[in-house]
Structure formats: C-alpha cells, structure tokens
C-alpha cells in the first residue's frame, strides 16, 4: 500500500507479556518534518521508536518507510540503514574513537572503503562541531560531545529520517543546549526527525507538530502553539505546563 508520507504508522499495538503498552498508535511524517513526542514515563514512547526499526518487533499494526512496509519486510537491515537512531545513553562503541564510531557503519555495513568513510566521518564530526575530538575515545568525551558523536554516526549513513529517544535526558543541563543546537540546525537543513524529549522550549520552537501520549494512546497531536495555548484536552495542558515548570522553556 503506497503512501506519500516518508514514515507512516497505522494502528500500532505492542504488549510486553500481558501488559499492553501501545494501544493503537497512528501517526505520519512528511519529508522535512520534525515531530516531537511527549508524555509521562512508561507511556510507550521508547517502544514506538524501537518498534519502528524493529529493535523490538511490534505485535500488530503497520509501519511504512515510503512504499516499504517495515513491519513485514525481510530486509530490515536495509531499512535500518535508512533510519538513524540516537539513544538516550548514546550507545557509542566503547572500543572505538569518535571517528571510528562514525566510520563503522560505512565500512562494515555499506562496505565503503576506508579513505572515503574517513572523509565522511570527519565531515559529519565537523558538522556537529566536534571535529577536534575525532581521535578521542568515548570515555574521554563529555556527555554532550558523546551525544554529538551519536548524531554524527547516524548522519553519516545519510538516513531518510532520524529517531531520537530522549537525546538530552542523560546530560547535565549545561550540556543539553549544545545537543539541542545541533538538532535545531538539522531541522533547519530539512532533516526529517521524530523526537522523544521533555525539552518544551525546543519542542515549541522546532517541532512542526507535538504529539502528546498517555497510557498507550495519542491523546492529542497538532502544532505546538495550539497544544500549549488551546488544547482540546485538559490533560494535555496540565502535562505540558508541568513539563515546562520542570524543565523550563529551554535556552530560548
């Protein structure tokens, strides 16, 4: 079933054992869009992202990347090459330098030769502002630098979209800004992104759409200003204002 969306999720359900975590999620992203998912802890936000690239295969529902049905494809590794994933805990390979982390997908998965991979890795590290740390190992980097390596690693694969699972939640507040700046630039350059975050300031200024989830359902989705100023559901307003209190408006 072809769609004109870049990513489309239809009636996604997921359970861990008896526990139904996602109870029918539908959403879609067009090329160049940035959407932000917010919601209380344990609501299933990470599960959605993991379902999309089948790190956790969904129980039912359909997910498409352009015309390809991800949920049924036999070539999931090809899909994963086209969808970047940025982890809350960075997921950097500890035995490789920053450059090595960015190169490995190119050399091992895309079978690119080393020279070319190195060139791309350096470009992407420069792009996220840490070209000077190419030869540092993860343990030698700050949290913000690690996460920028994580983003560079995703970017190097030239993905059609990038999924971010709370990319700044393990960072000290003063390091959050440098990562959000990188993400804001990506949004401006037209990268398609689906982001789980509690950073309301960022969401308000960067997201094309805000998706509020609770209890395995999407309660409300729409332009951030509408959800903040004029939400359909009382719960949405309560939650968004609680988050803004907790995390502030961001660096805006």
């Amino acid at each position: 079933m072809p769609t004109k969306h870049l990513l489309k999720i239809e009636d996604l359900h997921h359970s861990f054992g008896e526990d139904e975590v996602l109870k029918g999620i539908s959403l879609a992203l067009n090329k160049g869009e940035t959407k932000v998912i917010v919601g209380p802890s344990g609501t299933g936000k990470s599960t959605i992202l993991n379902n999309i690239i089948r790190l956790v295969p969904p129980v039912s529902g359909k997910i498409y990347l352009e015309d390809v049905e991800i949920t049924s494809t036999k070539k999931i590794n090809q899909i994963r090459q086209q969808i970047g994933f940025v982890f809350q805990d960075f997921g950097l390979f500890n035995h490789l330098t920053a450059k090595g982390n960015v190169m490995i997908g190119l050399t091992k998965v895309k079978k690119m030769d080393k020279k070319e991979a190195e060139k791309i890795a350096m470009e992407e590290l420069e792009r996220v502002g840490i070209g000077g740390f190419a030869d540092s190992y993860p343990s030698q980097l700050s949290g913000g630098q690690k996460q920028r390596v994580g983003i560079a690693r995703a970017l190097a694969m030239k993905p059609k979209l990038i999924l971010f699972d709370e990319p700044t939640s393990s960072l000290d507040p003063e390091l959050t800004g440098e990562v959000l700046t990188v993400m804001r630039n990506l949004a401006q350059e037209g990268m398609t992104m689906l982001i789980v975050t509690h950073e309301m300031g960022f969401a308000r200024t960067v997201a094309d759409e805000l998706i509020f989830m609770e209890g395995g359902h999407i309660i409300e989705q729409g332009p951030p200003e509408k959800l903040f100023k004029n939400p359909e559901h009382k719960r949405t307003r309560e939650f968004l204002f609680k988050l803004t209190d907790l995390y502030g408006e961001g660096e805006e």
């Binding site: 994963r80 090459q81 997921g91 500890n94 490995i104 190992y137 343990s139 694969m157």
Partner: protein, 220 residues
C-alpha cells in the same frame, strides 16, 4: 646445580621447547574453541546452548589427568591412537577451551546490551554486531584471565610427562633417573619454569598496556 644445567641444557631446552609448543598451541586453540563455545552458549538456540553448557560442565567437573588418560589410553580401544604430544595437546585444548569459554561468557555478558542494539540500529546483522562490536570489547576484557590461563597451562603441561610426552618435566625425570641427583635436577627444572613464567608475565603486561583503551577497564 649449575653443572647440571651446563651438562644437560640441550636436553632441558629441547624439553622446554616442547613445553612451550604444547602451551602455545593449547592456549590459542583453546581460545578459538572457547570463543565458539561461549557464543554458542549465549547466542545459540536452545539445543546448542544446552549442549555447550553440558560439555563445559563435564570438562570442568572432571580432572584433567582423567581426560588425558581417556584420550591417550582409552581411545585406542576404539581404534583411535595418538602420539603422546598429540594426545596431550588435544586434552589441553579441550580443557582450556572449556575454561576460557566461561571467562569469555562473563566478559561478553558484561558488554552492555545497548552496544549490540546500537550496532543493529546501523543495519548490522546480529552476527556482524557480535564480531565487530561485542567481541572486540569482550576479548580485551578477558586478557587478564587469558594470561592467567597461559601461565597455568605452562605449569599444567607438565602433566604430559605421565604419558611420556617429551616436555621439560619428562626430560628432567629422565636426567634424574640416570644421575640420581633428584633434588638438584628438579630444582633446575623448577627454576627454568620460574624464569619462563616471569618473562611471560612481563610480556603480557606490556601487551595489556598496548591494547588498552582509555577508560576501558579490564575485568578484575
């Protein structure tokens, strides 16, 4: 003692050569066996995993000398005959492989599951992730256990004397049974083991430093 060494060093060094050969082959082949066993135990299906678990339990739960005797004296009853050195090496490989499999399993499981998840997210298959991401870290972590294993193996390889493999201990025994200077001969043999082991410990420490990665802790 010095005169014994001077009189017999060609024999002793020949024995030492065999000892080191047995140790080297047993330990490195044991590592390869250990890698397969540990991967089978962790990532294999139920059948593979259980077979490996049982195999490791049997090997670790029976004396090395019994294993050696089964291979050298027992198998010929079924028409399988090995030269003493071959029999020794086979039993040491099996034994070392089982122990190394357990060390490796520990270090593989200490590499966080997030590492494999990140590898998969780049489009690697599970096996690519294991080979390019999990094993390089697990193997580094297992180096201290591996060097211990190597040192033990130098010493355990002396067990091969009971089936007459001509390693260092056997040569010592032959010399002593001719000149009856048991104390002096075995002291010389002991000193040779000691010096060799000190040299290897030093080399391994250097190697550990060489492959060390900042912030990447070795086990223990």
């Amino acid at each position: 003692m010095l005169d014994i060494f001077l009189d017999f060093y060609p024999l002793l060094f020949r024995g030492l050569g065999v000892t080191l050969l047995i140790t080297l082959i047993s330990c490195t082949s044991g590592t390869i066996l250990g890698i397969f066993l540990s991967l089978g135990k962790i990532y294999g299906n139920k059948l593979v995993s259980r077979t490996v678990t049982a195999f490791i339990a049997i090997i670790r739960g029976t004396p090395l000398l019994v294993q050696l005797f089964i291979i050298y004296y027992g198998l010929p009853a079924y028409g399988i005959r090995f030269a003493p050195i071959t029999a020794a090496v086979i039993s040491f490989i099996i034994n070392s492989g089982a122990y190394q499999a357990e060390y490796l399993r520990g270090s593989i499981q200490s590499v966080s599951s997030g590492q494999l998840k990140a590898a998969l997210s780049l489009g690697m298959t599970k096996w690519m992730g294991i080979i390019h991401v999990v094993l390089p870290q697990a193997l580094r972590r297992v180096i201290p256990a591996w060097t211990n294993e190597f040192i033990y193996m130098i010493k355990y390889s002396s067990l091969a004397y009971v089936i007459g493999a001509k390693e260092l201990m056997t040569e010592g025994k032959l010399i002593a049974s001719r000149n009856f200077q048991f104390f002096n001969v075995y002291m010389v043999v002991a000193l040779i083991y000691l010096v060799v082991i000190i040299i290897f410990v030093h080399l391994f420490n250097k190697f550990e430093k060489k492959v060390a990665i900042p912030g990447f802790d070795f086990e223990r």
